[in-house]
Structure formats: structure tokens, C-alpha cells
Amino acid sequence: MLNRFYNFLDERYRVTPLLRDIADHQVPDHANPTRDMRAFVYCLGGISFMVAILLFTTGVLLAVYYVPAPERAYDSIQYIMNGVAFGPLIRGIHHWGASLLIITMVLHMLRVFFHGAYKDPRQLNWVAGLLLLMAVMGMGFTGYLLPWDQKAYWATNVGTFMAATVPFIGDFIMRVLRGGPELGAITLIRFYALHVLVLPAIIGLLLAFHFLMIRRQGISGPL
């Protein structure tokens, strides 16, 4: 049954070469942790991706109940925590995963840096990685406001005032971030839109480039 369905697909769309390309893709010996545990540092990028998938999945689930409005945000999260089955688990994974992703990404970056793997011809992949780190930090900044508790409010208050210290255009940046001079309903909904729509799209594109480039160039050789 499953075989016949696979053959149906394969005859029409030739999926076997695509699958073989993934399944037969060789991990170089120097990057294979089963040969030398120290090669585990090569896994940090993949681990970051796995954490990102976890965050994406739990984020979609949180959006099922979360309401990005000042009078509702906190209550809707309390409902996730007290009224929904596995709510604390889903939110907990999203909460802790957010910090974990920053950690694994920075470790991945340090590995690439100390191995010199960013050098020619992989410069653009390093740049893509930097942009990814910035986008993920944007996720952290926008996501931090969404619980709409004291910590969220004052952290965003401080964060947007930091932007205001930029010479000449600082005040303008702060107003754009807040959607006005004050931090309030407009700030919350635009941070939510950035967090669940804009930044995930940017991150998805950058990840695609990141992976296509590494696949085309292969990972850097042994030290």
C-alpha cells in the first residue's frame, strides 16, 4: 500500500534522486562525532535548527490562545498556564527554548570563528549567519514584551529608550518601535506582528540560503 503510493509519486515526480541525495549525503570524518566526540562542535548549527523548529512549533500553538491586546494578553497567558492541557509545557518549551537558541547559536558562531570556517569562499554564509543571529535577537526582543507583565513592560521601555539614544534619528526609531511616543496597545500588536509574521519569514529565507550555501560548498576541512 505504502509502496504503491511511493511508486505513484516516484513515477510522476522522480522523488528518489532527491531522497537519495539526502540519505547518501556523507558526513566528513573530521566532522563525525561517532569517530571523535570532539567533532560534536560541528553539531551546534544543527542543534540550533532543531531548537528553532521547537520554538516555531510551540509558537504556533501559543498563538492558538494568546491575544496581543493590553487588556487581554496577560489573562490569555494565565489561561494557557491554568486552563489548557499541557499549556505550561508548551509555554515552558517556548520560554526556555528561546534562551537555549541564543546559547547554541553563539556557540555555533564561536566554533565557526575559531575554526576560521568563515573565510573565503564562505564569507556570504558567515554574513547570512550574522543576519540570522540579529533576526533571532529581534525575536527575543519582540517576544519579551508579549507576556505583558511588569518585566515585559519595563524591559521594552528600557529597550526602546536605548534606541532613542541613537544620534539624530534616535527619537524617530523609538517612535517607530513603539508606534508612537508611548508604549502601549500599538507597541504590543506591532511587536506581535513582527514576532509571528515578519521575523519568521525573514528567518526562514535566511535559513534556506544558509543551508543551500553549506550544501553547495560543503563544510570546511579539518584544522
Binding site: 500553538l61 490562545y65 491575544v67 487581554r72 494565565q78 486552563g83 492541557a85 508548551i90
Partner: protein, 186 residues
């Protein structure tokens, strides 16, 4: 070494028996299914858990005062509206409720849930024909007993528990499943 292990010839297993390769494939499938359910069960539960609870109306099954019987004209439905605090998930808000009350004369009173039994549209009073009509698909109900006179509704309008004490009419508001021939409380 590795090659000889990986490429056991299919002929080394008797016909009909499960070979090592097939066993490993099945085993991988089983482990995959276990992992998928460990991940999937919380996710599905998370999504559907609010659907499993009952309606959280706080004032449920309480007698609600509709008014004094002498104020209700005989044989004609009167729309009574009131609001009550209703909790849905994290939201606690005033929900507006409507009851159609019919004074049958001789002290008898009938109260109807305003939902058409077809697909739940709120009925209105057609004053010319003195019927309760649904605005959606042409359901028409008789005022005296809620019987279907025309249209697709599968059963009569749902009556609500009603009592008259010292001339005061009280009703217990309930909602029922629509589209069924039997009256099933939600």
C-alpha cells in the same frame, strides 16, 4: 567489516520470514510511532482541551425573572432580553440572552429558546402572521407550541422550564443542539 554487516543477502532468510533488514525497518517504524505520539498527544490535547469542557456560564440553571404575567399580551410572543456574566476561556463578559415568552392565557406561560432548531439563527416575531420566523433559511414556527409550520427545522422550537409564582414569570435558560430531531441539551 561494515560492508559485510550492512549487506546481508536477502536469500539468507527463509521465504516468508522477517529478515534482519525488514526487522530493523519495522523497529524503526515502531520507535518513530512512539516518538510521534509522545510529541503528538500533548499537542492535540493542548489544541482540543477547551472543547471538552462544558459551557462555563456562571449563572447556569438558575431561575431568571422575566416579568409580571399581566404585562404579557395573550397569544403573542414577547421578547425578553437580559444579560448575564459568561466566562469563555480567559474572558469574563456580559453575554446578552434572549427568551421568547408566550402568555397562553389562563395563567399558562410558554418560554422558547430563541435559536431556530435548524442551524441556530435567532428567530423574530412575524407580527402579520403571528409566527416566529428564522431569518436564515425560512423556518416558521407556531407561537402557541413552537411547532414547525414551514422550512427546514427538524423539530419544534425548544421550550424552557418556566414557572409562575405570584404572577411573576421565571425561566431557566438552556441551549440545545441544533439540527437534530431530538432535543439534546448542550
Amino acid at each position: 567489516m561494515a560492508n559485510t554487516i550492512a549487506h546481508t543477502t536477502p536469500s539468507s532468510t527463509p521465504k516468508g520470514a522477517i529478515g534482519r533488514r525488514q526487522f530493523m525497518a519495522y523497529g524503526t517504524g515502531v520507535i518513530g510511532a512512539v516518538i510521534a505520539s509522545i510529541v503528538g498527544i500533548p499537542i492535540i490535547n493542548y489544541f482540543i482541551s477547551p472543547a471538552l469542557g462544558h459551557s462555563q456560564a456562571t449563572a447556569k440553571s438558575e431561575w431568571k425573572e422575566m416579568g409580571v404575567i399581566s404585562q404579557f399580551p395573550v397569544g403573542v410572543p414577547t421578547k425578553v432580553e437580559y444579560s448575564e456574566i459568561q466566562k469563555t476561556g480567559w474572558e469574563v463578559a456580559e453575554a446578552r440572552k434572549t427568551v421568547w415568552v408566550v402568555n397562553q392565557g389562563n395563567g399558562q406561560v410558554t418560554a422558547y429558546n430563541p435559536r431556530c432548531t435548524h442551524l441556530g439563527c435567532a428567530v423574530y416575531h412575524d407580527e402579520k402572521a403571528n409566527t416566529l420566523n428564522s431569518p436564515c433559511h425560512g423556518g416558521v414556527f407556531r407561537v402557541s407550541d413552537g411547532k414547525v409550520l414551514a422550512g427546514p427545522p427538524p423539530r419544534a422550537l425548544d421550550t424552557l422550564p418556566v414557572k409562575v409564582e405570584n404572577g411573576h414569570i421565571s425561566v431557566i435558560y438552556k441551549d440545545f443542539r441544533v439540527g437534530t430531531t431530538e432535543k439534546i441539551e448542550l
